[in-house]
């Protein structure tokens, strides 16, 4: 187990199609301490490349508003709210990405 000094680890659940882009559904990401959801997304794109970007962002480089994120199974964070991306993460957080799309 790595000693956490300047960094932290978060556990990320990736639902389709993000798991296709990552090649796995559950990953551990190393982040700087007090990083945000925006920082996590940046790291995901840096690690898994253009396919991850394609699923998360539209062609104007805006995050697709249908995505929402659960942190530790708490009520979801929605990307159509301006404050959403600056939500601060903590060491050991469990983060899940899910699309909040309509239908019924």
């Amino acid at each position: 187990m790595r000693e956490m000094t300047d960094g932290m680890q978060v556990c990320v659940h990736l639902y389709p199609p993000l798991n296709t882009a990552a090649g796995q559904s559950l990953i551990v990401m190393d982040l700087e301490k007090e990083n945000t959801i925006q920082g996590l997304i940046d790291q995901l794109v840096a690690r898994f490349g253009p396919q991850m970007r394609r699923y998360l962002f539209d062609d104007k480089d805006r995050i697709i508003p249908g995505w929402c994120v659960f942190v530790n199974q708490q009520p979801p964070v929605y990307f159509n709210r301006p404050e959403a991306l600056s939500t601060i993460l903590a060491d050991g957080d469990e983060v899940s990405f899910l699309l909040a799309l309509a239908g019924g």
């Binding site: 062609d59 697709i64 508003p65 909040a100 799309l101 309509a102 239908g103």
Partner: protein, 651 residues
Amino acid sequence: MALSKNCYAGRILRVDLTSGSITTEELGPGLIDPLIGGRGVASKMLYDEVPPEVAPFDPENRLIFAPGALHGTGVPAASRTTVTCRSPLTEMHGDGHSGAQWGGELKRAGYDVLVIRGRANRPVFLSIDNDRVELVEAGNLWGMLTSQTHAALRDRCGIPDLHTVCIGPAGENRVFMAAIFHNGADKGTSARCGLGAVMGAKNLKAIATRGTHDVGVVDIEALKAAYQEYVAIINVDPHPVGGTRYGTCRFMYHRIKFGIHGAENWNYGEYPWEKLDPEVFRSDYQIKAAACVACPIRCRRDYRVVSGPFAGTTAKVEWETIARSMTCGIQEPEAVIAWSNICNHYGLDIEGTGDTVAFAMECFEKGILTPNDTDGLVLKFGNVAAFLELTRRIAVGQGHLAQTLARGTQRAAAQIGQGSERFAMHVKGGEMTAGDPRGMPVRAVSYATSTRGSDHLRSNPYIEEIMKPDEALTWWGSEEAADIANGLKGKGRMLKFSEDLVTIGDILGLCKFAFYRSATFPWLYQKGVALATRFYNACSGRNLSEAEMLTAGERVWNIEKAYNTRCGATRADDSIPERFFQEPLKGGGPSGGTVVDRDKFEAILDEYYKDRKFDPQTGRPTREGLERLGLQEIADDLQARGKLSRVTESP
């Protein structure tokens, strides 16, 4: 053994309950070629056989059961059966769609369509066992709940896997929100438009069906290839993921995202929802995850309450159950499950009933109804006991208020008066569904133009949420169409397309969630048009193009529109409750303070009519529009009745 080489059994079964006559006739190319099956064939038969002179409870009204053309073939999520009649709620075209095995069983028995007319002089059920079809006395079933009826029929017929449709007490009592239930309480419901009341008016308690033939597929290799492509899409499309995890309860997250709950009779957009979080339902109450026939998404959910006053209560719960509970101010998951249990067992449509109870609650909160009127029920929003008890009373017709509400929100408001019409939330007499349209003009128009009263499944009112501006430019001629709140141009065209699109699903019997919802427009088109057409061609042996498939959807829509026009509908009926135009959405949140902008609404409606070739002044079809779709005899009929418009362009 298959009755025919393709996906059609090739026969219509006709039952006259008045005379007791049972006949069959060929389902020929006259209906199949232009209309394909399911809702398409049923809508045309309703037009041909039930003129406006026939009232909804008249024995001459028809109850038409039509499984989609692909039902029973093994195509994924091809599980929908349409039931059609003239609706007592709207007095216009009415239908409901259910995903259950009964429709496939009807086809396996050798019938693509079942048409019921007349009225039995005592309660009966219809028994269909392949070619052996008979009417059977059902006095001992009358009064039973839907679950009891299904179980009793299986016992009585001695067939453990017998498939049934039936009504509960609500249908027997001709409650205008009564539904038809498939295989008991929790398997599937033909819910909207008062179908169960029409079945009750015919003294028909149930239809018990067994079929042992196979449904044919012409080109199994082509079906397999299309199936592989379908699975490849749903493996990358994020839309089904939430359904597989949470069932339809997952749509809660969408309502939170936009703040459009429609809580407390469509007053509040943001509303306390945390106790109704899909994760709560999944972790604390879920006992079963299941699928409709051949569906890999598996979004059906049964829940059970383990403790408290409702301990032991189980029910199938859909998102609309939760949504309409919130419309009544309910925030407790146990109450939602208990309410679903009552509606499903007594045979009520969740959506219509929820809105009607919410309407009564607002009347009570405003002092229009008092405890004297409610037989002591304190009809405050969020009062669980009153919510459940009033629902039961509506089903069984107990008390004056329940009998008034049993005729639906529109009629109840007319009877109660005192300004309650202002917050009677319905379109054409059909209660509201889904999310609040304030702040989303195209969604508002989609509720208004639906041919069976307010409805989110008659189109894809969410299509703009998944479209990118360049796609909107290509398809609708304007990037604006992809802008949810502010765009205008192209939205009418987009709505028209989405109506034709999802009509394909009802013709073929494909589930909307599985084929007509997606995270991106290219996937939506690929599943809903391209693959749907390939599946149909593989199963039928026909060779339709994608454009022809879309035209079939458009043709069916026009038949229903013509039916409603013949019943007296005009542009004024293609509207939404005044509350949405005039009262800013309460509760704050992303859509807080918004109204539906009337000018935008009318502008989108104008563009929509123009694209449909309807007359923008009257909202009626035109000869040009109908003949373009091969519907000349309908144009002649409307003209003979003085209801055909000549104009296609705005003045």
